[in-house]
Symmetry: C2
């Protein structure tokens, strides 16, 4: 086959680039993916019981970038979303992330913001420059709240103590002394009204001259496709045949459980409303069970069915060839990636883009923003006739 | 690219053949489809409101062939289905197909089977060898029932008078003097419990060494793929570049309308239950409106949502390149197809299979049955080393 762009990966990065390049350059594209669907890990689907679920873990879209919102808005309507997270430990649900409501639950009576601030001042561990995730949290809220909400969760998630992890890992969770319990800070918080998959289908429908090859491994098809430029959004270590080692990742296993309306009747006191299993979109389990969280995405999809599906999330050691979810944020992994980045910089044949190819934990809006920027760069290169490949 | 089988079309025929040949011969397959999904016209999808709909018209699975049921049963659970059809005319719903209940509605009081038989004997037109669809019906039920239920519907559907159409067109609708109002006769009537699309996804997942190329035209990719055998399930006239003319088809336009739970409250008296718009899966409109029928497939999918989507079906003249739904069952079309069948018989390079390639109105089980038989033939050819193509 003969195309202008061979794009490996049908996730956000690949889809944005196919749409931009096919429409703005009139270029032909072939998107190749090992899976049988669009959207990469953002793919959602109706399960066997008709409940819309996020197949590869929950995707909470949010952004402060109007350009990203508006670009994706060409392919979807938005449904405003309140991403409510609770934590379950000591036999009850806790308001989370930590805020004044959590403090009131802890002391068992109403309290003021000043009282909570005074409490935190009395328990926090004075550390001027927190060097890791444990220090970041205990320096703000002391040992009890750290152990209630952070220590066990982080240990399960990463199979490392927070003391071994970069400060940024736990620092991304807000801690507030007022009653604001929003988990995310961004000004625009919404999900595609008809789901992510439908949005990707519309992106593809908007592409000119773009074919999609599913269940296909890049390595198996590369010699059969002639292309002018390659855009690779897969794992960079795999692209280079692991010549600088296997990049460290954490993986996940998802376990779905479905409940009929009848089964849910018994949960109504817990969930607070009919048709749901738990009281919020996400409940973290920092200290009990082998899973880190249970997500009931129906809380934000707006589905009106009387049944529901919850998904338990079990952290999993990553092995080469498995599903790579999170780059490991420790001291050594950036150096390991750097070795690949240096090889890639000397390789004029490929544009590497996206989460796996740049070894980054990207939010969705960051991925889209980066892909839109790269599209501009590729367009400029293309028009300059540069970086031609065979 | 280099594969054993190039399969054009990802509908029932293409999917069954890919599954059989990849698993039984260990052959590699590339399935090519212009659309962006599996399943051909049997594809179903959740619409923007989360209601499962049959995108290309309703598909009522039924069979008398246990082998077909069991083969598909490897890839889906079954949900028993009661395919209830009503007709709407003279300002009310009528039991359909014509049976004793319909007769009671007509005369406005209870009646016996004998009474109905006597009525039919008095109104039927004596024709010993009905030569067309009009004669087939009036010879059974006379002019009034023919005009109430058949004449206008057929005229709309085919844009021809029943008198111009083969007797088989209307003869497929049963007429009974007892109270049996089943539309379909087959012993097994059920739909894939999680939908047709999910069943096709499972078939694909079961395929070995099978890639799927979407949004791709066979003519554009043929020279870039090397294959040993071609299986073509598209339109045979298009394959031969219309050299013997455009085969006549009827086409359809589908118009969806969605109703929220609130909007449905006002319809409850009509629908007979909450969450539905009409009282049955399908309502025919023989004499009023431009559409032939309204289908509310939620009646058989078993979805428990409180909203619904109905689909109005408008017959449409077919034009070359449009969606070809029904071969036209008149006197001339078989001859037109025969010209292509003769060309194909002299063409050792291709297996033609499925509804479009054989110019037949197939039910789903017939398609699957034919594909399973063809798989056996291809396996035999393959093992004999025959029909090798470049």
């Amino acid at each position: 086959m003969n195309v202008d762009f061979l794009i490996v990966g049908a996730g956000f990065t690949g889809m944005v680039l196919a749409e931009r390049l096919s429409n703005e350059l009139g270029a032909s594209c072939l998107i190749v993916d090992r899976r049988g669907h669009l959207g990469g890990n953002a793919y959602d689907e109706y399960d066997d019981h008709g409940v819309l679920v996020h197949k590869y873990g929950p995707h909470y879209f949010r952004t402060d970038k109007p350009a990203v919102r508006d670009y994706l808005g060409r392919f979807t309507e938005w449904r405003p979303a309140h991403y409510q997270i609770l934590a379950w430990t000591r036999g009850r649900y806790w308001r989370f992330p930590i805020n004044l409501n959590t403090f009131e639950q802890l002391i068992g009576r109403p309290a003021t913001e000043e009282e909570f601030k005074a409490h935190l001042a009395s328990v926090r561990v004075p550390i001027s420059q927190p060097a890791n995730s444990e220090e970041v949290i205990v320096s703000q809220v002391g040992w009890e709240l750290y152990e209630m909400f952070f220590k066990g969760y982080t240990q399960k998630q990463w199979r490392k103590s927070p003391a071994e992890l970069d400060a940024s890992v736990c620092a991304r969770i807000p801690i507030r002394t007022n009653r604001d319990d929003r988990y995310l800070r961004e000004s625009f918080q919404a999900i595609p009204a008809a789901g992510y998959t439908r949005m990707f289908e519309r992106m593809l429908a908007a592409c000119q001259r773009t074919m999609v090859l599913f269940h296909a491994d890049y390595h198996a098809v590369r010699q059969h496709v002639s292309y002018r430029k390659l855009i690779f959004t897969g794992a960079i270590d795999e692209y280079y045949d692991y010549r600088a080692g296997v990049l460290p990742y954490r993986s996940l296993r998802f376990e779905r459980e479905h409940f009929t309306a009848e089964q849910l009747a018994a949960r109504q006191a817990v969930a607070g409303k009919a048709g749901f299993w738990q009281p919020a979109l996400q409940v973290n389990y920092p200290n009990e069970f082998d899973y880190t969280r249970i997500v009931e995405v129906k809380h934000v999809t707006g589905q009106t069915c009387d049944n529901t599906t919850i998904v338990r999330e079990y952290p999993l050691d990553y092995q080469r060839g498995g599903e790579a979810y999170y780059p490991v944020p420790d001291a050594t992994s950036p150096r390991q990636y750097q070795a690949y980045a240096e090889i890639a910089a000397r390789d004029p044949h490929v544009y590497f883009a996206g989460r796996l190819a740049t070894y980054r934990y990207y939010n969705m809006d960051q991925v889209v923003d980066a892909a839109l920027s790269l599209a501009e760069q590729i367009k400029a290169d293309w028009r300059a006739g540069a970086r031609r490949v065979a």
